[in-house]
Point group: C2
Chain length 255, copies 2
């Protein structure tokens, strides 16, 4: 049995609370939030508190608060030599006060409050300075059926950038497609199956192998036609840069 | 019962052949390819030919050949006033010789030879000059459970550009994420669930609403850190341009 104290009551803390409550070998000993009313709905199921000085002993303290508050909250914890982790992709392990045994338990997925989370589809990036602590995080991840990856603080910084490309920037390309279709009275819906298929394809195939379209084909005529047709200068600049990126990746001549 | 003659034996023709054969109200009267051996495996199930002069009467002739060959093949068809469509997103309706009744039956999806295609997930963009012909395409689409959209040749050109953003360029962002993770010995696998979730999210929510991350948050500090950390100049240029695009979309100050 692993005992856990949760700190914070946002998206991440709430989803962890739910999955931990349903796991056989995890006990949420206590749930802290600075504003008690944000967790008061759970008061019959778990010991809730807004007083750091009332925190009980636990195998691990999970700080799931805004990135900027991690350092301050970890410092305010009125004990030392216990295992304290945060859940951030952006913060360093060393943002946690050094009086604690430190670690990271970062779920690499987008969470929204209402939507249920299937943790078997949430990769957990784990890090800890002490071997035994790392083992505890592995057990925690495996107990909720997550796939885990040992990722250092430096690697996590790199991973965060990669995630910006794979998630935020990809979503912006969806947005641009939306603008382009709307500009010609086409329903954006028509593109949705293609978008899903594009994401599914690379689950079992490298993006390199999955590439199709005018740029990788070296289809100069189509690229020119498209550039002529695109009026928005930002879309045009992106079209050029991404076409160059594709031709570079595939060792083709610039189009 | 709709009778169809298929022309071409590539990805698209083959997938149409399979779905039409399984449909109750569609009969593939004949299948033509210039190289007979590419369809000879099907000779016990359908009348195959490599002779355009042997083509039988049908309600619709579907030309699923390479874009460049559409015009030539349509011209070579030894009849007139029959309904002839192509399956291309890039070609014009007017690429079909004007001796025919012309139309387009464009499946907006990526096809690969081996993978089975679920046509209920393939939007069909249809176009025809004559109302009755359009109705036939609607029936054809509905019979194979596809969602159809009436899309003009001009709209199809726009749609093709939008699809390049949503599919080819998105895939290139996946590729860049792959490069970034590999550069720091991180398994690309860790990003795959996020990539799938990003595509799933916009099935029921606009990309505008779905946006998250440092750019839309106006998180200057993180954007600067990322730009400092990215060494590849092309990745850096893309990071900047896509960040600008996001801040513009969301009416924020440049970061
Ligand atoms: N959301 C995601 O998709 C996601 C994914 C992976 C990792 N993460 C990481 O998980 C952590 C939490 O993110 P989240 O999305 O759950 O955040 P959130 O929904 O915005 O919730 C933030 C929580 O932090 C608390 N908080 C903020 N400032 C505080 C302070 N100075 N002292 C004490 N508590 C404070 C808030 O308390 P109040 O309730 O009192 O305001 C709230 O409970 C962050 O490190 C984030 O980077 C998020
Ligand atoms: N693949 C996709 O994901 C996709 C999606 C939507 C629409 N489309 C469109 O569907 C059409 C077919 O694409 P595809 O992917 O099925 O192509 P493909 O797999 O490359 O097959 C091309 C077919 O065209 C035939 N062909 C080429 N040049 C010809 C010529 N001069 N005369 C007669 N036949 C010729 C080939 O005959 P041989 O077998 O004899 O070489 C082959 O059967 C294109 O207009 C394409 O834009 C494709």
């Amino acid at each position: 049995m692993i005992s856990v104290v949760l700190i914070g009551a946002g998206n991440v803390a709430t989803h962890f609370y739910k999955v931990f409550q349903n796991a056989d070998n995890i006990l949420v000993t206590q749930w802290y939030n600075r504003q008690l009313n944000n967790i008061s709905t759970y008061k019959n199921n778990v010991d809730i508190t807004d007083d750091l000085n009332a925190l009980k002993p636990a195998d691990v303290y999970i700080i799931a608060v805004s990135d900027d508050a991690i350092s301050e909250v970890s410092k305010a914890l009125p004990f030392q030599d216990r295992f304290v982790v945060h859940t951030s992709g952006a913060a360093s392990l060393y943002d946690i006060d050094k009086k604690h045994r430190r670690g990271v338990f970062y779920p690499l997925q987008t969470f929204t409050k209402d939507a249920d989370v299937d943790f078997s589809k949430v990769p957990l990036c784990i890090e800890a300075l002490v071997k035994e602590d790392l083992k505890l995080l592995v057990t925690l991840a495996e107990t909720i059926n997550s796939t885990w990856y040992k990722i250092s603080t430096e690697q996590r910084k790199t991973l965060h950038i990669a995630a910006v490309f794979a998630n935020n920037f990809t979503n912006q390309l969806y947005r641009i497609s939306h603008e382009i279709t709307e500009s010609d009275q086409i329903e954006f819906d028509v593109l949705k199956p293609l978008i899903l298929e594009t994401a599914k394809k690379i689950q079992n195939m490298s993006p390199y192998m999955a590439q199709t379209g005018p740029a990788v084909r070296g289809d100069k005529k189509t690229v020119r036609k498209h550039l002529k047709r695109i009026k928005n200068p930002q879309h045009k600049a992106l079209y050029k840069l991404l076409t160059d990126s594709i031709t570079d990746t595939h060792g083709r001549k610039k189009l």
